[in-house]
Amino acid sequence: MDYLALGFMDVLNPVTMFWVAAGVTIGYVLGAIPGLGKATGVAVSIPLTFYLQPVAALGMLIGIAKGSAAGSAVSAILLNTPGEPSSAPTALDGYPLARQGKAQKALKMGLFASVIGDFFSTVILIVLAAPLAHYALLIGPVELAAILLFSLTFIGGLSGGSMLKGLIAAAFGIFFATIGLEGETFIPRMTFGLLELDDGISLVPMAIGMLAVAEMFIQAGELKRLDVETEAISKGSNPGDNVVTRAEWRRCAPVIARGTLVGSLIGILPGLGASVGSFLSYGMTQRLSKTPEKFGTGMIEGVAAAESADNAVVPSSLVPLFALGIPGSVIAAILIAAFILHGLTPGPLMFQQQPRLVADVYAAMLFASVVMLVIGYTCQSLFAKIIRVPMRLIIPGVLLLCCVGAYMETSSIFSIYVMLFFALFGYLARKLDFSFVTFLIGFVIGPKLEFSFRQSIQLLDHNAVNLLHHPIAIVFLVLTVATLWWIGRWKRPQMPSAPGERGPAPRTDIASDHKGGS
C-alpha cells in the first residue's frame, strides 16, 4: 500500500479535490432533502461525470453516497422526516431533541457520528478489503437466515409504547413485503393483476410516504402547537443546547464505536442494506443502555448509534465490490456502471491491473470523509435555521420534494400512488400508536428472511441434518436463543402491572405528545 502515498499525491490537487468536495456537498444536500436519496443522486450524476478524470469522477460519485448518508440525518432531526429510510432511527431521538431546543446538539452529534463511522469504515475497506471479502463469501443463505433471525431479536425493544402493537406493525411490514412475484416460484402474490406490483412495493416510495408525507400530514394538523413551540425554542436557548458536551461525548464514544462496527459488518454482507445496519445499531444500543425506556424521548446516544452505523455501511458495502466484483448494495450496483465507464473493472483483477487508480480512489474516499465534516458543519448552521420557519411554509415544499423523489424511482406515477397509500397508512399507524419502526424492520428483513429460508431448504437438500455443515449458522442460531432468553429474564422485573402496555402510565402522554412514532 505504498501506492496509497502516491494516491494522496494524485488526489490532493485542486481539480480533484473540488469535484470530491462537490460530490459530498451535493450528496449532503440531497440527503437532507426528504424524498431524494443517495441512489437517485448517484444514478442521476453518473452522466455528469462522463468527461471528468476517472479519479475525480469516482471520487465525486462516492462522495455523493457518503454525503447523503450523513445529510439524511438533518431532515430526520429537524422535521422528523428521515431523508432516507436508514435514518429513521435517527429521527426517533433526534426530533425530540430538536423540539427541546437542542437541534444544534443533535445535528452536531449526528454529523460527528456519521463522519467517524464513515472514516473508520473506509479505513477498514482499504486495509481489509481482500481478506474480508473472502470471509464474507462464507456467509451463504443458510448463515444469512440465521443472522437475520438473530437481528430480529432486537425488534421487540424498538416497539416503543406497546409491544403488542409493535408486533402487529411488524407483521404488517412482513406482509406488505410479500406483495410481488415470489422469488423462487415466480408466482405473483397479491398483485391484483398489476404489472407494476410484480417487483413488489419499492422501499423508497413506501418509506417516503410512510415517514415523510405521513409526518407532514400530522404536523399539518398540529400547526398551532408547533408554531408555539418553535417560538419558545427561538426565544429561550441556552448555549449548552448547541454543542455536544464532554459528558455526552464520553457516553457516546462506545456507542459510535459499536455503531461503526455493526454498520461495517452489515455493509459487507451482500443484500442487507443500510436500514438494517442503523436499526440494528439503534436496537443494540437501546438494549445495552442503562435507561432503555428513555430512548425515543431525546437520548443523544440514539442519534449517535443510528448515524454511525448508517454511514459505516456505505464504504463497507464497497468491499465485496472491490474485492470480488460483487455489488452488495444498491449503491454498489450503480457504481459498477460508473467504474466500468471510467475504465476500472471492479473485482480482484482491479488491484493487479490498476493499483495506482485504486489507490487514488481510496485516497479520494478518505478525503471525502474529512471534507464531509467541514461541509456538514457549514451546511448545518444553514439548515438549522429552517426550524425557525413556520411549518405551513415547509410542509408544501416537502410534499413536492417527496413527490419528485418517489417519481424518480420508476419514472412513473405509480410510485406516487404507492407513496400516498403508505402516507395514509403511516398516518393512521402514528396516530394509533403503532410503531412504524417495527413495520419498516419487518418490511426490510421479512422478505430476506423468507427468501434465505427457501434457499436454505434447497441448499440443505431438505434435510436439517445438513445444518451441521454450516457452523456459522449454528453459532448465530445459538446466539438468537441466548439473546431471547436473556431478554426474557431481564425484562421480567420491569414488567408493569398494566397488561398489554409496556412501561408506566405517564409514558402514553409522552408518546402522544411528541408523535415520534414510538
Binding site: S45, F50, T185, I187, G221, R392, L393, P396, T508
Partner: protein, 147 residues
C-alpha cells in the same frame, strides 16, 4: 386511546380474517410441489395479526373503567387529512391532464392555501422558487459539468 385500541383491534381482526379466507387464496396461487408454499408467510402474518388484534381488543376492554383520555384522531385532524388528500387528488389530475409543472405549482400553492397561508407573495413565490431550485439542482448541476 383505549377506545381507539378497541376499535383498531376490531378493524384489524376483521381485515386479517378477510385477507386470510378471501384475498390470499384468491390472489396467491399455490406453489408447485417441493417448494415452500407461497401462501405460507402471508397466512402466518395474517393469523398473527388476527390473534394479536383480538388480544388488543380484549386487554383494552378489560382495563376499561378509568379515564380514557382524548381520542387520538380528532375531527380537526380528519378535516386536515381530507384537505391535503384532496390537494393530492387535484395535483394528480392536473399532472395527468397537463404535466408536471402546473401540477407541482398547484401542489405547493394549494398546500400553502390549505394550511392557512393567505398572503399572495408566498403563494406565488414559493412554488416558483421551489420549482426553479429543483430545475437548477438537476439541470444546472448536470450543466455545470462543462469544466
Amino acid at each position: 386511546m383505549r377506545r381507539a385500541n378497541v376499535l383498531s383491534g376490531m378493524v384489524l381482526t376483521a381485515f386479517s380474517l378477510i385477507m386470510l379466507f378471501v384475498v390470499i387464496p384468491w390472489q396467491i396461487d399455490p406453489a408447485p410441489a417441493g417448494m415452500i408454499s407461497t401462501r405460507l408467510v402471508p397466512n402466518m402474518m395474517m393469523i398473527a395479526i388476527a390473534v394479536m388484534s383480538v388480544i388488543l381488543v380484549v386487554t383494552n376492554l378489560k382495563s376499561a373503567g378509568g379515564a380514557d383520555g382524548p381520542s387520538p384522531i380528532t375531527l380537526a385532524d380528519l378535516r386536515m387529512v381530507l384537505r391535503i388528500g384532496g390537494l393530492f387528488v387535484v395535483t394528480i389530475v392536473l399532472y395527468l391532464l397537463t404535466g408536471p409543472l402546473p401540477a407541482g405549482f398547484a401542489l405547493v400553492a394549494g398546500g400553502l392555501l390549505a394550511l392557512g397561508e393567505r398572503r399572495p407573495l408566498p403563494l406565488i413565490a414559493m412554488p416558483a422558487l421551489l420549482l426553479t431550485a429543483l430545475w437548477l439542482l438537476f439541470y444546472k448541476v448536470l450543466g455545470t459539468a462543462i469544466v
